[in-house]
């Protein structure tokens, strides 16, 4: 059940850090492989990613990784070298920080934070700093436009994201992610507590808002103007090659993994399985969470590969004219119901 | 330039006649292989000025009513009305075509250099793959006063007809009026014509190279602008004039 030996806090910290560090590339790898390579290849009748390595093109991702590592590291002459080099790291660090508070079991969480949700959302928007740095330091107009678009977009969509989450927080009565999971597992809806109360049932509006806003935060397709390949080539990433580009890539998919995990935790009941407690829950928790987050991620990538891209002004209009008012209404409704129906 | 145009029509006719007389000579100079090809195309050749299609004649009458004495000559060439106008009436021709013939669509404007490409003496016969063009200057269906011409085609999207307009360009000071104010699409065509033939278009908002780099010298489509690749190495198209194996044509026997 528990590890029998006592471990000092330093060792614990090291182990935890290592695990989270492992999770980012692992998550990125899993999402990249499952959705970017396999699902997209099936949707688009692509032959290339289905070929290498024999069975179902399993080798493609490895090959891509090798390719990225082999590539020459190019830095533009005009680039602000230090900022240019630092930007990908900041993007990945922001992803890293989100994972600190996502619980994968009753005890399997790196850091119990009472402001967990808000911490997660706050650090997730740190990546915009990295994006801005990348765009500015590249000394490329496409990169600059991409970075400015990204900044405008992330600011605009941080709000609906928060407003969507506030509904959950009100209903759960806590900002601690573990607390939210427990609230869902122990909750009941219309007197039924057989499978608890995943907040997707009561917070469906919030869930949709969260997914839309998360898609924008991730700069995925209906909202991918910052990287729009057909106009800005690759936006702020345009001057990055090889390993540095790989960092952005990992950051992008790692963040997608984190947001899918957040959505699963906030709305789908997280790691919890009703009726399973104790050590077994710790054991099964990561698997349950993984299944749920893959379901969310499937949806996110499905949209990503299907939809066209909005224009910058249309994107802002959607955020300010629709999502934010809906989010506010959702909060008001949740609060009223919370008070009226104890 | 404008005041000499009335007599332009006159010297044309003899020139054209001379041109027709010249063509067989040129063909005779072509390699022996050409002998076989001779009889076939010779039949449809003498038909440049027969009776015009009544619809085309009516179209021309409409155009002439608008342009008046700006018209020098007209002809029908394989179903297309070709009208040669005086250089000073070039822009008015476009306006008339647009207003009276409903030609709202500009197809193209292009230059023309009637001068035969200069040949280096003694070079004949080595590169038999190259088409042998006549050595004398001849001037197409409606004739020309000199070496350069500008021709354009405008069409009507409603009436479904078109008109090809031609005008002569002075070789010493090649310039005609721009059509940009009539057809905005003339912009690029005139820029192309300007860089390819060195023909200036007065009234064009900003004439500048279209395809070529700014430092390019010369006017590539002029006949005296040599195609260097062709000078250095003959195109290996000789196979077209060599007899096919197992083909019992006269020149085969001649070769044997």
């Amino acid at each position: 059940m528990t590890l029998a030996l006592e471990i000092g806090w330093g060792t614990t910290l090291a182990i935890k850090t290592l695990i989270v560090l492992m999770i980012i590339p692992l998550g990125a790898l899993i999402l990249g492989y499952t959705f970017l390579l396999k699902m997209m290849s099936h949707m688009q009748s692509r032959l290339g990613p289905m070929d290498p390595g024999g069975f179902h093109g399993w080798f493609q991702l490895v090959g891509d990784g090798i390719k990225f590592l082999q590539k020459e590291d190019i830095m533009p002459d005009e680039a602000d070298r230090r900022v240019f080099a630092l930007a990908p790291a900041i993007v990945v660090i922001s992803t890293f920080l989100i994972f600190l508070v996502i619980p994968t079991g009753p005890r399997l969480v790196v850091q119990h934070l009472d402001v967990g949700v808000f911490y997660a959302l706050a650090v997730s928007s740190l990546s915009v700093v990295g994006v801005l740095m990348a765009g500015w330091a590249s000394a490329n107009k496409f990169a600059l436009i991409g970075a400015l678009r990204a900044a405008a977009q992330l600011i605009a969509y941080e709000l609906p994201l928060l407003l969507a989450v506030v509904g959950v927080v009100i209903q759960a009565g806590t900002m601690n992610l573990n607390g939210i999971v427990i609230a869902q597992a122990n909750g009941s809806i219309f007197g039924m507590d057989f499978f608890g109360n995943p907040f997707i049932l009561t917070q469906i509006v919030g869930f949709v808002l969260f997914l839309i806003a998360a898609q924008a935060e991730l700069t995925q397709t209906p909202f991918d103007m910052p990287v729009a390949e057909s106009e800005l080539v690759a936006g702020y990433m345009v001057e990055y090659t090889g390993f540095r580009f790989l960092f952005f890539f990992i950051g992008e998919f790692g963040t997608a993994f984190a947001f899918a995990a957040l959505a699963a935790t906030l709305y789908l009941g997280g790691y919890a399985i009703p009726g399973v407690n104790g050590g077994l829950a710790d054991l099964l928790g990561p698997i349950v969470l993984f299944v749920k987050l893959m379901a969310v991620a499937f949806f996110m990538f499905w949209v990503r590969f299907t939809y066209p891209r909005l224009r910058e002004d249309q994107l802002q209009a959607i955020a300010w004219k629709y999502l934010i008012p809906i989010g506010l209404l959702n909060i008001i409704a949740t609060a009223i119901i919370k008070v009226a129906v104890p | 330039m404008a005041d000499e145009t009335p007599e332009v029509g006159a010297p044309d006719a003899p020139e054209e006649a001379a041109a027709e007389a010249e063509t067989p000579v040129a063909e005779a100079e072509a390699p022996e292989a050409a002998v076989e090809a001779e009889p076939k195309p010779a039949e449809p050749a003498p038909e440049p000025e027969p009776e015009l299609d009544p619809e085309i004649e009516a179209r021309f009458a409409r155009f002439e009513a608008g342009l008046g004495d700006g018209v020098i000559d007209h002809a029908e060439s394989h179903g297309t009305l070709v009208v040669r106008v005086r250089p000073d009436a070039w822009k008015r021709a476009a306006e008339v075509a647009r207003a009276d013939l409903d030609c709202d669509y500009l197809s193209f404007i292009a230059g023309m250099d009637w001068m035969p490409a200069p040949k280096t003496p003694g070079d004949e016969g080595t590169d038999t793959s190259a088409p042998v063009q006549p050595d004398t200057m001849t001037f197409g269906v409606t004739g020309s006063k000199g070496r350069f011409q500008v021709f354009a085609h405008a069409q009507s999207t409603t009436k479904h007809w078109g008109i090809t307009l031609k005008t002569d360009v002075d070789e010493a000071a090649p310039a005609v009026d721009s059509w940009v104010s009539v057809y905005p699409g003339a912009d690029w065509h005139e820029r192309e014509c300007w860089e390819m033939y060195g023909i200036d278009f007065t009234g064009h908002p900003k004439i500048r190279p279209l395809y070529l780099p700014a430092e390019f010298e010369g006017n590539p489509l002029r006949k005296d602008f040599a195609l260097i690749a062709r000078e250095v190495k003959p195109w290996p198209g000789l196979v077209d004039v060599e007899p096919m194996p197992g083909d019992d044509t006269p020149e085969d026997e001649g070769a044997a």
Partner: protein, 392 residues
């Protein structure tokens, strides 16, 4: 700061400065920014360069710079014999090579007074329509890519391959068939080709339905294309914009129906689609309908394919009598025409190539004024040009 030699940017000193220092650097000295789209830009299908002056994301002025792919076909044609030239003109609009050959060959035939036998004409029509499908089908997918939807582009490539297989099956060349001969065709259709063609046409129709499902009904696609890049019909015609671009502006003009009768078009029944709006969406919609119409035409042509010879009697050495001819046809991208001047030799004296994209793109400076950067891409995508067709 020399200002006169650099091609065409005297109009705008700021544009000029950018061109002089080839390096693009971030300029913040004035409110406007110069952005070089291309010559290496994914949205330009090749090497079109678009210098745009931006105020924020709004385009203040745009100037297309062409000529990066100018191959001088008009000059080269003067040094080739007629049969050799079809190789060159194949590469003008390289997506619909076969359709480029037809007008040139038929121009030479008109000058020679030769007429290709009916079967050759019908096969030419079939292959022209197939290259139309191959070209426009790619557009239908690629337009999705221009507005950010990745998937349709791959569908476009996938199903176009089926059509290219057909063209390859009949002609031996996937992209550059070089199949036309003056007086007819090189070969007859191979065995089994017709049934194969029918099967493929069904797939194409289904693919068109897929495109309609994925893009035409999509709110985001409509938001991105409706009302964007409106070309008034009259102005479009004056610019020489042709083909589906003009028909999408409500001009009911199709050379297959309205021009001088050519190929087998007078004998088959087809509808010319127009759209009143003139925006990017209309251009997409018209092309979608045109693809379906082309499929219908191919099926009609297959049904009515006459028997007989595929080659008229022509001398082996092609010598074209003196004369001038203007041939124009409705190509996938618009009006394609050749003005052939012959002086009785084995090669033309002058060939003026009137290609569709050249005029279609010439309207860009007018069209792009005041739009947003993303719309630049949408508009360029919806005009659908091929670089080889601009530069020739």
């Amino acid at each position: 700061m020399t200002t006169t030699e650099t091609p065409g940017f005297e109009v705008d000193p700021a544009l000029h400065r950018t061109l002089e220092n080839a390096r693009v650097n971030v300029e913040l000295d004035n409110g406007d920014m110069i952005l070089n789209l291309g010559p290496q830009h994914p949205a330009t299908h090749g090497t079109l360069r678009l210098v745009v002056r931006l105020d924020g994301e709004r385009v203040v002025a745009a100037d297309p710079v062409i000529g990066y792919m100018h191959r001088g076909y008009e000059k080269l044609s003067e040094f080739r014999t007629y049969p050799q030239i079809t190789t060159l003109i194949n590469r003008i609009d390289w997506l619909s090579s076969f359709a480029n050959e037809v007008p040139f060959v038929s121009g030479a035939e008109q000058l020679m007074g030769v007429e290709a036998p009916p079967r050759a004409q019908w096969i030419r029509t079939i292959l022209t329509e197939l290259s139309r499908i191959a070209t426009i089908y790619l557009f239908l997918g690629e337009m999705g890519l221009q507005v950010g939807a990745l998937t349709p582009a791959f569908w476009g490539f996938r199903d176009r391959e089926l059509v290219l297989n057909l063209i390859e099956g009949a002609t031996g060349g996937r992209f550059h068939p070089n199949f036309n001969r003056i007086g007819g065709l090189k070969d007859d259709l191979p065995w089994g080709w017709i049934s194969e063609c029918r099967a493929t046409m069904d797939k194409i129709l289904k693919g068109c339905d897929d495109f309609e499902d994925v893009l035409v009904g999509n709110e985001i696609f409509e938001a991105r294309t409706r009302g964007i890049g409106i070309i008034p019909g009259e102005l479009g015609a004056a610019y020489g914009v042709s083909g589906a671009n003009l028909r999408a502006s409500g001009v009911d003009w199709d050379l297959r129906r309205d021009g001088k009768p050519y190929l087998a078009y007078p004998e088959i029944d087809f509808k010319v689609w127009t759209h009143p709006d003139g925006d990017s969406f209309a251009r997409y919609w018209v092309r979608l309908q045109e693809t379906r119409e082309a499929v219908r035409m191919v099926i009609q042509l297959l049904d009515g394919l006459p028997a007989g010879s595929i080659m008229a009697k022509v001398p082996r050495i092609i010598k074209v009598p003196e004369g001038e001819v203007w041939v124009e046809v409705e190509n996938p991208l618009g009006q394609m025409g050749y003005y052939i001047v012959s002086k009785g030799a084995t090669g033309p004296f002058r060939v003026k190539i009137r290609s569709a994209s050249f005029s279609n793109v010439s309207i860009l400076p007018w069209l792009l004024r005041g739009v947003y950067v993303p719309d630049v891409i949408t508009i360029m995508g919806s005009l659908y040009f091929i670089l080889g067709d601009i530069d020739r």
